[in-house]
């Protein structure tokens, strides 16, 4: 301000002195005053502008300086941060992971789905649902319990409205030395498909051999121990003892173990594009008064009869999976081929027609089945698959008293061929179409058609191989 007024006064004095040289009138004087006033104003404006510019220049200079310093720092470092977000702590921060699978199927079948595959009436036929049905909806909750234990539960929501406990187990992976311990209720580690949950199946239903020999899946209450060899090749052996809850066991309630399983898996990669796993398993149990309903007999009793079996059941299985993906990039395209074979030998006592004649005598049979399937993801999100199923009901050795009642030789091998196409709009949703030519029941060939949705909400856990 001081500078400004000095300058304007000096200018005014100069001007006034220059005009003093000649005689001037009042009017002139007035005009000069006005001019001086204008000049003063204009200079004041100019000076104010200059001051503003100076300030701005100073500020931007500082900015440039600090930007340069920051750039220097940027070159070295992407702003590190201390490794803790641990500020948050509230009760629900430790809530377990919750995942909900919503699944449903529309099934169109020409034959009554309650009829079991010919020669395989000893278990409860899992069958299919006709029309719209709530398929494989399930609720899963899991979390680490402490540094050693992890717990998981899967509740299956039954279409009829009930809830059943599919899995409820505790796992300890911290034993070291390749040991893995699991106890509670779990899917047995036998075969390849047995451990997979329904939402991870590649088809809308399980292969016939799983439906007929394991009632879709063998769930067990018991203890499982696995050991992984310290080798570059995957070599795992495992054993289970359990209650014998699921078929072919009869859920017996007594001390000791009701069923035992042994399994071994070997697997590896071949280059980066191929991977495989092969396995063998053995399952043994003893069934007591295991009931089977609607069993056809030699007398052609309408709707069949109810039988009961007590005896030993021993099943061996082989499984093989091979996967191929160009460059090992499964997000893009891949091929997955898998096949499994199971062979079951049962021997004991069979009571024919428990509700009527009730004749008990010896019974032994060896049954087997296999499937082979291929799934091809031909472009991201789209997969197509083909599966062939086949069962052999075997020829039973029936004791003389029942020889005229029980069918020993069905002279028929159930089979089925299925084709599916599925589309996954995202990792969390899948829509599937499946067609099947079902020839699993003698003289009851069926064309089946399924539409299925599988949606995954909440936590999305990792899938096994």
């Amino acid at each position: 301000m001081f500078k400004k007024s000095c300058l304007s006064t000096a200018l005014a004095v100069l001007l006034v002195q220059s005009f003093n040289a000649s005689a001037i009138s009042d009017a002139d004087l007035q005009a000069i005053r006005e001019q001086i006033q204008q000049l003063k104003q204009s200079y004041e404006q100019r000076i104010a502008q200059l001051e503003q510019r100076l300030q701005a220049a100073e500020a931007s200079g500082k900015q440039a300086e600090s930007a340069a310093a920051r750039a220097q720092a940027d070159v070295r470092q992407a702003v590190t941060r201390p490794a803790s977000d641990a500020g948050r702590s509230s009760e629900n921060a430790f809530n377990p992971a919750i995942s909900l699978i919503l699944g449903g199927t529309y099934g169109s079948l020409k034959q009554d789905p309650a009829t079991a595959a010919t020669g395989f009436e000893m278990g409860t036929n899992p069958g299919h649902d006709q029309g719209f049905s709530l398929g494989e909806s399930e609720l899963g909750i899991s979390a680490n319990i402490d540094a050693d234990y992890r717990g998981a539960i899967t509740l299956a929501l039954d279409p009829a409205g009930g809830v059943s406990v599919e899995n409820a187990y505790v796992q300890n992976s911290a034993l070291g030395n390749g040991l893995n311990l699991k106890f509670g209720r779990y899917f047995s580690g036998l075969g390849y498909l047995n451990e997979q949950h329904a939402h991870a199946w590649d088809f809308a239903d399980q292969p016939l051999v799983y439906a007929a020999l394991w009632e879709n899946q063998l769930g067990e209450d018991g203890v499982q121990v696995k050991w992984l060899a310290p080798s570059d090749t995957f070599i795992e052996i495992g054993g289970e003892i359990g209650r014998g809850r699921g078929f072919p066991g009869s859920d017996r309630a007594k001390n000791g173990a009701g069923a035992g399983v042994l399994f071994a898996h070997v697997g590896d990669d071949i280059g980066i594009e191929h991977s495989w796993r092969a396995g063998a398993s053995l399952h043994q149990t003893r069934a007591v008064d295991r009931a089977s309903d609607g069993v056809p007999d030699l007398l052609a009793t309408p709707d069949g009869v109810s039988n009961s079996f007590s005896g030993d059941s021993s099943t061996v299985g082989l499984d093989l999976v091979w996967k191929y993906a160009p460059n090992g990039n499964i997000g893009d395209r891949y091929v997955k081929l898998q096949g499994e074979y199971f062979r079951r030998k049962e021997s004991g006592l069979l009571t024919y027609d428990t509700a009527g004649a009730a004749i008990t005598d010896s019974y032994a049979v060896t049954q087997s089945g296999w499937y082979l399937q291929g799934v091809y993801q031909f472009m991201p999100q789209w997969r197509s698959g083909l599966r062939y199923d086949r069962l052999d009901p075997g020829t039973a050795q029936v004791g003389a008293p029942n020889a005229g009642n029980v069918i020993a030789d069905h002279a028929f091998n159930p089979s089925r061929i299925s084709w599916m196409l599925d589309y996954s709009p995202s990792e969390f949703s899948r829509l599937r179409l499946q067609l099947a030519r079902d020839n699993s029941r003698q003289a009851l060939a069926d064309n089946q058609f399924f539409v299925q949705y599988i949606m995954s909400l909440g936590a999305h856990g990792a899938h096994s191989y």
Partner: protein, 298 residues
């Protein structure tokens, strides 16, 4: 005799018995960094290839077998490997490498995460709660990660601590020099508008000053549809981009579709070590990345 038997037993199992540490690296960049820091003191197995989508890997038997014998697992973390690593570690029966243990190292813990979502909703696609996990595209991130990783190596293998400290110092010096070189080389890239195929480059953009104007995936992890690509193409008329970026593991089609119609180059970046034949090690990874970006400008 007993000794001989042990040796016999170990022979087929040992693989690389003279190396002090068995390291299981989830992605090639961490294998390369471990290699820089440990030299021949570590025998390193890389779980995924540069042409694999690291989000979508399977818990293959071979991975479980390798994790069984690992002393140290080095991964990105931030949920990048959430689809497979938890199963691999659980099934490995290896106590040392379980999350929380000293044998489990997550690189993402040591850098500032970008794009941490304020709201978690799957309607937004495959978002990661802890932020965008593709941290390896910003070369500056390797300094703090190397520092933390070297400390972990010293902790696990104290006998060779001096070796790791020396190698860390060497790496620090060389990498800092390289960072200055890259910053100079990449100067013309500052402010350049780009399209990305997958939202996998926020760290690269943050580092080099690229400006992302569009993403070809409608939501993270979702394949772009033709309709959506058409819409992106339309938007490009208002807000043009200079090039379209994709990682080596991604399908070339969407970027090429856009590139052809928008008349801009489609630039494939190695994304990690081995993504291109030029990106043979960590230094070459960023040399090649910047060269490819600069070539896209022309």
């Amino acid at each position: 005799m007993k000794k001989f038997l042990y040796v016999l037993l170990l022979l087929p199992l040992g693989g690389n018995a003279q190396a002090a540490l068995n390291v299981f690296a989830c992605e090639p960049e961490w294998a390369a960094l471990t290699q820089q820091l440990a030299g021949d003191q570590a025998s390193i197995y890389t779980a995924t290839g540069a042409l694999q989508d690291p989000h979508r890997v399977e818990a293959r038997p071979s991975l479980i077998a390798k994790a069984r014998r690992a002393d140290l697992v080095v991964c990105t973390g931030a949920e990048l490997e959430t689809a497979w690593l938890p199963v691999v570690l659980r099934e490995s029966g290896n106590r040392a490498v379980q999350p929380g243990g000293s044998g489990y190292f997550e690189a993402a813990q040591w850098v500032r995460m970008l794009e941490v979502p304020a709201k978690l909703d799957r309607a937004e696609g495959d978002v990661h709660a802890l932020g965008n996990p593709h941290i390896q595209t910003d070369a500056r991130n390797f300094l703090p990660i190397a520092d933390a990783l070297a400390k972990r190596l010293m902790q696990l293998d104290p006998a060779n601590a001096a070796h790791y400290r020396q190698r860390l110092a060497d790496f620090d010096r060389q990498w800092s020099a390289a960072l200055e070189k890259w910053a100079r080389q990449a100067a013309p890239l500052r402010g350049v508008p780009v399209i990305v195929q997958h939202n996998g480059f926020p760290y690269l953009s943050n580092w080099l000053g690229l400006k992302k104007v569009a993403t070809l995936e409608p939501k993270p992890g979702m394949e772009p549809s033709a309709t959506y690509l058409g819409r992106v193409l339309n938007e490009l008329r208002q807000q043009p981009a200079r090039m379209v970026l994709r990682a080596a593991y991604q399908n070339a089609r969407p970027s090429e579709w856009i590139a052809e119609r928008a008349r801009i180059p489609a630039v494939m970046l190695p994304y990690t070590v081995g993504g291109t034949s030029q990106a043979g090690d960590l230094y070459a990874l960023f040399d090649d990345t910047i060269q490819r970006l600069l070539a896209g400008l022309k």
